[in-house]
């Protein structure tokens, strides 16, 4: 057991640190405000440029093979990078669905042509990706999805609807799960397609969320043509491919979420120090101290549980269902953090963007509301618990 870095890793950390210090826009944290959790629509353009800059500096796709635009490094470097990003409070990666899910899945299942075509443009943010999994009648029971793709000549014709599709209105490509065999068992008739969002017949209708923003959308497919060459991982093999994506999602989340939790916690501590309670900073209130300390502990615990998972990966093991535990923990911790942020503000928590009285311009209210999605998106907490119960603990299916 050793948490120390090698000289190479130390110099990599210094490289990242000094690059961030030099290149991070000074007004970034003011614009986004501390504690904000998710890219808001108004900063998409900024985030696109930021990711491009990170890419040009060689900090995107560290663990991806060099042939496909990556740097061929290990998860250790990725973790170091993420830690420095947190310490510097740098912006999140906009094309996260591509980097965290689509890219690794294409690298795992793609043809050589696909691997050369897509991943590099994900890293540079030239092409933004979204995820076409959930449907109005298929959420947790994803395998019941009904969007259909029928073979016509050398292409497939897609009809149906997806929903809760994050950044669909910005996306150039979609990871699409569609039914290609209606007679087969529900898990066996699904195919994974790489769908061009600019194809005729694709309609994106933004959905207004409880935050008031429309960060995600409904996506309609009306006779959308997808070339056969855009199947990933083989016909009717989409369930296995899609599940790989989800494992990578939770793995990527493991790195990214820890960073986001740390940034949010630092913001919360700062808020608590600025907030007066009974005439003194709220951090002197024993109850607040207990809650803050518990969040601090949980954030660190999350980091070390993640480090144990990385150790497994470094030994060559694949990301497994254990990643569900990390996702679940983060959700619980982050929602509790956002609740505490509201509690600290008291009646001011009610005031939102646009009010001069709103604390930090109302950003806490936004991130509080946004955090309600955390236990739903990327697999609900209930589904994560089923996965842990069945696939880690070996309990029987219901």
């Amino acid at each position: 057991m050793d948490f120390a870095l090698t000289p190479e890793q130390t110099s990599f950390r210094e490289e990242v640190r000094s690059w961030l210090a030099k290149n991070l826009p000074k007004d970034w944290s003011d614009r986004m405000r501390v504690g904000s959790d998710v890219p808001r629509p108004e900063v998409y353009d900024f985030l696109r440029k930021w990711q491009r800059k990170m890419y040009e500096a060689g900090f995107m796709g560290l663990t991806w093979p060099k042939d496909y635009g990556g740097r061929g490094l290990t998860f250790m470097e990725e973790m170091i990078l993420q830690e420095q990003i947190a310490l510097a409070k740098a912006p999140p990666v906009l094309n996260i669905l591509a980097i965290g899910m689509a890219g690794p899945t294409i690298i795992a299942y793609g043809t050589e042509e696909q691997k050369r075509r897509y991943p590099a443009k994900m890293l540079s943010c030239e092409e933004i990706w979204c995820q076409g999994y959930s449907e109005p009648n298929s959420g947790s029971d994803l395998a019941s999805l009904q969007t259909r793709a029928e073979k016509v000549g050398d292409h497939y014709v897609v009809n149906g609807q997806k929903v809760w599709t994050s950044i669909a209105h910005q996306a150039d490509w979609m990871m699409l799960l569609a039914r290609t065999d209606t007679k087969a068992d529900k898990h066996k008739g699904i195919t994974y397609f790489l769908l061009d969002m600019h194809s005729p017949g694709v309609t994106v209708k933004p959905l207004k969320q409880i935050t008031g923003d429309d960060e995600f959308s409904e996506v309609y497919f009306d006779n959308v043509k997808v070339p056969e060459a855009n199947i990933l991982g083989g016909l009717n093999n989409g369930w296995a491919v899609g599940m790989t994506t989800l494992m990578y999602e939770r793995l990527a989340l493991g790195f990214g979420l820890q960073v986001r939790l740390r940034i949010a916690l630092d913001g919360l501590v700062d808020l608590a120090k600025r907030t007066k309670k009974n005439g003194a900073p709220a951090t002197q209130d024993p109850n607040v101290r207990q809650k803050l300390a518990q969040l601090w502990i949980d954030t660190e615990v999350f980091k070390y549980t993640g480090a144990r998972a990385i150790t497994k990966l470094l030994k060559g093991e694949l990301p497994g269902p254990e990643a569900s535990a990390g996702k679940m923990m983060w959700v619980e911790g982050h929602q509790r953090l956002q609740e505490l942020a509201m509690e600290l503000q008291g009646p001011y928590a009610q005031l939102g963007r646009g009010s001069q009285w709103a604390v930090d311009g109302g950003v806490w209210q936004y991130s509080f509301l946004r955090s309600r999605a955390n236990s739903i998106e990327g697999g609900t907490t209930e589904i994560q618990k089923n996965i842990i119960g069945e696939r880690v603990l070996g309990l029987p299916k219901g």
Binding site: M1, T283, W296, I297, L314, K385
Partner: protein
């Protein structure tokens, strides 16, 4: 970075697992906990023969010279088997106090005997105030000739009734800073004026005593290190013992999880295994998260002890706060998911549940450690 155990450590784990399966199965645990000593000479000897009583002590003192990451592996296995007896008090309290505070002469006198299993030791630091900090040390030690005279009461002393020597924390002077003026003394069994009373405890696998000292006269050779500067080594001992306790708690929690999952697979209700119901399955998933997180932060704290990193205290407090809550939740959920059978004396769950509760209050509960975290991170 490598957050895993090496081959030797994995070997230690499997050796210890087999050893306790054979030598300290639950039927033995129950016999031992019913007796006043919590141990048999035979089992003690066998544990010593494995080298475990000397695991963390230097080779020059008859030990194996291993670290806390190694110790964690053994402690997890001991917690898994809820091993009763004075191992913890001898090695992690009395022995470690001698190592951290003793003079060369004292170390030579006691550590080889502790390592070989010949002597048992403990540490008497807490008093009826149950105060965790240095302020709690009020037992008076006044100069008497070339030595000292001690009077006062120590409480919650592990295995004092079977210890050959007790390290007693006393106050030799009082100043503005309560950490100044604390001194540690070696008090051998049978010293006139010292009385030991075994207390009835909820967790019968862990024996606690009251130690009374009435005009106990000690020679200068009983003083450990410099008079008045005993708090720093005492705090180091408590931090390290806390990490070992956390590891023991992790092992116990892991076992409760396994027992519960096995039961949920076979116990039928409404024609199905209860583990197929989400009400049960989801609770089991929560238990797993608690167990895995407990291990992560405990392993990190053990590493921090071995490396002497500046954030060592923070690591200890994060671990104890987290694991105290987690083991309580896990052992409670274990009983709940077993239903009525889990509430019986016959079933082993109560051994774990009571150990969890006792451990929660040993070396500071979660609330105390959260406050220490708050202080250490400048909240």
């Amino acid at each position: 970075m490598n957050f895993g155990f090496n081959e030797e450590q994995e070997l230690l784990r499997s050796t210890a697992r087999k050893f306790f399966d054979n030598e300290c199965a639950s039927v033995t645990v129950r016999k031992l906990m019913d007796g006043p000593e919590g141990m048999t000479p035979d089992l003690w000897k066998k544990m010593a023969e494995q080298g475990w009583t000397g695991l963390i002590f230097a080779e020059e003192h008859g030990g194996m010279g291993l670290g806390f990451v190694d110790l964690v592996v053994l402690m997890e296995e001991m917690g898994r088997a809820v091993v009763p007896g004075p191992f913890f008090s001898t090695v992690l309290l009395g022995g470690l106090a001698v190592r951290e505070a003793g003079t060369d002469v004292q170390k030579k006198a006691w550590l080889p005997k502790i390592s070989s299993g010949e002597a048992r030791a403990t540490l008497a630091w807490m008093e009826p105030s149950a105060e965790m900090g240095a302020r709690g040390i009020t037992l008076q030690a006044t100069a008497k000739g070339a030595g000292f005279q001690l009077s006062g009461t120590k409480l919650f002393v592990h295995d004092a009734h079977t210890a050959d020597v007790i390290v007693v924390a006393a106050r030799t002077s009082s100043g503005r800073n309560p950490e100044d003026g604390v001194s540690l003394f070696l008090v051998p069994k049978g010293t006139p004026g010292m009385s030991v009373t075994l207390l009835p405890t909820m967790d019968q696998t862990r024996k606690l005593c009251e130690v009374g000292l009435k005009d106990v006269v000690l020679g200068a050779e009983a003083l450990m290190g410099q008079a008045g500067s005993g708090w720093a080594p005492l705090a180091r001992v408590i931090d390290r013992a806390t990490v070992a306790l956390c590891a023991e708690m992790c092992g116990g929690a892991q076992k409760v999880l396994e027992m519960t999952v096995e039961y949920a697979k076979i116990r039928q209700a409404f024609g199905r295994p209860i583990g197929s119901y989400q009400g049960v399955k989801h609770k089991a998933a929560d238990m797993l998260v608690d167990v895995e997180n407990s291990k992560s932060i405990t392993y990190y704290a053990a590493w921090a002890m071995d490396e002497g990193v500046p954030e060592g205290q923070l690591a200890v407090s994060m671990a104890k706060a987290y694991v105290s809550d987690a083991y309580r939740r896990v052992s409670g959920a274990g009983i709940q998911l077993h239903g009525g059978i889990g509430f019986t004396w016959e079933h082993d769950l109560h051994l774990y549940f009571k150990r969890a509760k006792g451990s929660e209050f040993t070396f500071g509960d979660a609330t105390w450690h959260r406050e220490r975290v708050a202080q250490l991170v400048n909240l």
